[in-house]
Amino acid sequence: MEYERILSASGPTGGHLVRLSDKKEPKKIAWLQCIGSRDMNRCDNAYCSAVCCMYAIKEAVISKEHSGDDLDCAIFFMDMRTHGKEFERYYDNAKTKKGIRFIRSRVHTINPVQGTDDLEVRYVTEDGRILNETFDMIVLSVGLEIPKEIVELSKKLNIELTSSKFSKTGTFKPVDSSRKGIYVCGAFQGPKDIPQAVVDASAAAAAAGEILSSARNTLTKKPEIIPEIDVMGDRPRIGVFVCKCGINIAGVVNVPDVSKYAETLPYVEYATDNLFSCSQDTQDKMAQLIKEKGLNRVVVAACTPKTHEPLFQETLKNAGINKYLFEMANIRNHDSWVHKDSPEAATEKAKDLVRMAVAKVAMLQPLKEAELQVNQTALVIGGGISGLVAAKTLSNQGYESHIVEKDSTLGGQAKSIYKTTTNEIVADELKQLINDVTTDSKIHVHLNTTIKKVDGFVGNFQTTLVGNATETVIPHGVTIMATGASAYKPSEYEFGKDSRIITSLDLDQKLINHDPMLKQLQSAVFIQCVGSRENNRLYCSRVCCTHSIHNAIELKELNPNMDIYILYRDIRTYGERELLYRKARDLGVIFIRYSVNNKPSVAIQNGKMSISVTDHVLNRPIIIETDLLTLASALIPNPAEDLAQFFKLPLNEDGFFVERHAKLGPSEFATDGVFLCGTAHYPKPIDESIAQAKAAASRAVTLLARKNIFTSGQVAFINPVNCSSCGICISICPYSAPSFIEKGPFTGKAQINPVLCKGCGLCVASCRSGAIHHNGYDNGQIFNQLFAITELPN
């Protein structure tokens, strides 16, 4: 955290990377991992904090970007746990392209170097040598823990905690605390990173929403609607309000001068300055002035429209003026704050920006927002655990849904899984869930069904389903993608050539069936990362380490004398899963690390199966004879190119869907009205899939709960007279907003559906015929702004 502040532009050093003690620019920085995590000796935190590996790599990469390639960054770690989406690729990139050193070693001593602020690190290399290395700075990758106060609060609330003091939750109820009506999310539930915390937060909101759904809209008030004054055809009467923002602007820019200047500009009827334009009294005053002076367009020269435009637009609305007759000149963020040493030039710039804004606002036209009825039904694609939970969550909140499943049964991958890491029998829970779904009158299940075609847009989709040779069109308002992933069929390690070589799910099947052969095994070997973390599948499948370790424990419990070996690259039992790893070692499971360049090999001779692997401690090859080899094969996304096309959703290079925002929007798409959950997003265990399913449902409810939605007025539109029907707009639009008109006098010309249009302007710029206009950023408006870039001639 401290180091993050040093890197931050708003931090103590203004983003300049220096050692705080002597302001020296570091040449060598070391990160020490697992400080306060995976450590029973010093801090009693046996769990893994799950986020530190990735943040250390990120910090190292940013440091390099900041200080140049000369900076030496070394990360001392035990297991590199980059199990999140796109993390493995980032790790690989940091290693191979950014030149960050990854040293597998737990440092036990740091000694200050006499007479300097440097630090000496003493560590043991993988091949057993003891080295001393001096660094300018050491960053401790400190883990997460629950503060004392929270533990006490939990006691007061009567919430049960785990041995690691995180809130106790179940795999199938990942956000329910032990007490009904109290839901948990974020790191209190277990150590986790931003996307997972955001997922949990949405899921917890969904869980709370489920029990509160009957109270929805019982306490809301309707705002008063002020009739809009028609200003079409009127000469522009522009009001300019120049904000001082306390001293934020007025401390640099001569605000009265700017507002006096504004008065001289064409069509400006009135100009003044305000101390704080965004304060409630100023807002009221502005509304008053708009009415009094008969203003029909407004420029506010203040901060950034990105934060304050909606507020001022509201003021316009309150004064009866269409909210799009408004423009901001950004004289704070783009001016006073960044030119504090040249007040005169900053004042000149402010005048220029005001002049440009006035020139633009004069050209603006009142705009209408399209109103959309939202169909209150959801389409859930995929009948695995995620899809089922999403539908059930929606139903509990009072919304209907259709589940489309291409298979003949519900349940997806969960059907093949034996137990959860917390020892719940998956089949039992799944049976209950399927029963809940199939008996729910609000949920319609379509088995053996695929999707043929999708029309429409947010609020009003029409999806054509094909099942049992018949087509049905389902109207729905939102879509949840829960298309899932399935196990990779290995081509390596002699898979398929001997019945004793199986995948993790095959082993689960044997455990489910209580196969008597399991008890007879003398020895069992697991090989990790089969098909993951290499070549064309450069991602970690996230679930396999825990899965294999859990199954190893199951086998040990069946037969404590069984010799069990797990051959791995990094053990990634993040969070409290680490406790299983510990338990497995305690039970005598033997862990042997192999490197990707020197993988184990399998030989079958005279009916005997032997596996040869180079032991990382002995640094020499060893041969293990075994009766069962389980391959922890990768989780690969189910093919979804068609669906991606239908809904205009992006897929990443591994075939997983790309969410709206990697951190802040993990359960939704950039395409409005489409949501995402489960392993179609990234490999994840059941609890995380359920949390995300609830999160996707929760995000969907934010739309469904509204009967109608308004779209932005700042969209593109086509003048069909000028359209040449070339079809560029249709081809180029990322949102499928343009289409050809099918009947009437303009048949064959293009038109734009304002509901689908995001107003990006790609089509406007691409239209050679000049037929496409942009409400709010039209050519004439931008030209006018440019014409005003230099002082107008007197």
Binding site: V721, S725, G727, I732, P734, G748, L762, S769, A771, N779
Partner: protein, 316 residues
């Protein structure tokens, strides 16, 4: 060439007789030498007026725009690439067309020929790959056709039609290892001031007649940007900035679509080498997107579609 002409006439006659097309779009002899005119033939009897020689440089695709009838069109390699673009851009339907493909050996540059004779030229005839020029006083000169090719034809990579229903002759061998962009690289390597001077000189004679635009099959908008007044994209006068703006924007409108058919340059009464602009963008499209215009009906030009995995290494 006479064999080509015979074959063209035969095919045209047959298509009209069999009512496969309503009209055949081809060339007839012009009133002055080296100026064949586009013509429409609607009845079989008139097919005899169709001609073919090395003066058929006009790109007939220009005459297909928004036509409703079934058309037989005579098309060289470059013309067929423009037909492809026309089909992709909804200007005509493939089903409406019977493309009579002409394997092309290049068109001749009338300016070059004019430059060879002192007196007015009375007749230009060709035999095999030789051109014989007769002037108004009866003097003659015979030269190799390759010496007087249009400059776009001398660097042509697609002499043969890329799409056709009928062929008037066997396909001709395509030229290999042509350096299409020697002139462009030269301009690219100029310093800014040098470039400015170069374009200033190049466009100094432009009279803004828009012949280049009118000859171009890519220019089919109902209202051209040069004629629009709201917004006014550029001034209507002879201001050099407006002239340059016109040429730059025209070139951009052709990016990824231009087949270098040479119609623009051929049409220019001031002999301005306007292809320099379109070729620069053609080069960029090849280098950045591996794209050459008008070779496939299945894909739109690179600037016409949105892809999340767009190559963007050129964005620095």
């Amino acid at each position: 060439m006479i064999e080509y002409q015979k074959k063209i006439q035969n095919i045209a006659e047959r298509l009209l007789n069999e009512k496969k097309v309503d009209v055949v779009l081809g060339f007839k002899k012009g009133t002055i030498p080296m100026m064949n005119q586009p013509c429409l033939v609607r009845v079989p009897d008139e097919t005899q007026k169709l001609v073919w020689d090395s003066n058929c440089g006009i790109n007939l695709t220009n005459y297909l725009t928004n036509r409703k009838e079934r058309i037989g069109i005579i098309a060289k390699g470059c013309d067929t690439r423009n037909i492809v673009t026309h089909i992709v851009e909804n200007k005509i339907k493939r089903e409406q067309l019977v493309i009579i493909g002409v394997p092309c050996t290049g068109m001749i540059d009338k300016a070059k020929i004019n430059g060879l004779m002192v007196n007015e030229i009375a007749e230009v005839s060709e035999h095999n790959q030789e051109i014989t020029i007769t002037d108004s006083r009866g003097a003659t000169k015979t030269i190799q056709k390759k010496e007087v090719l249009q400059s776009n034809c001398s660097i042509c990579k697609y002499k043969n039609p890329v799409i056709y229903d009928e062929l008037v002759a066997d396909l001709v061998p395509e030229s290999k290892d042509i350096d299409r962009y020697e002139d462009i690289r030269k301009i690219e390597s100029m310093a800014s001031s040098e470039k400015f001077k170069f374009f200033e000189d190049m466009l100094s004679t432009c009279i803004r007649c828009y012949a280049c635009r009118n000859a171009c099959p890519l220019c089919y908008c109902p209202t051209c940007f040069v004629d629009e007044s709201k917004p006014q994209w550029l001034g209507k006068g002879m201001d050099p900035i407006d002239i340059r703006t016109f040429h730059f924007l025209r070139a951009y409108h052709c990016a990824g679509r231009c087949t270098d058919c040479g119609s623009c340059e051929r049409a220019c009464p001031m002999d301005i080498t306007v292809r320099q602009f379109t070729k620069k963008l053609e080069k960029d499209c090849v280098e950045l997107f591996g794209w050459e215009a008008g070779l496939t009906l299945d894909k739109r030009p690179p600037l016409d579609h949105y892809k999340t995995n767009d190559p963007q290494s050129f964005i620095k």
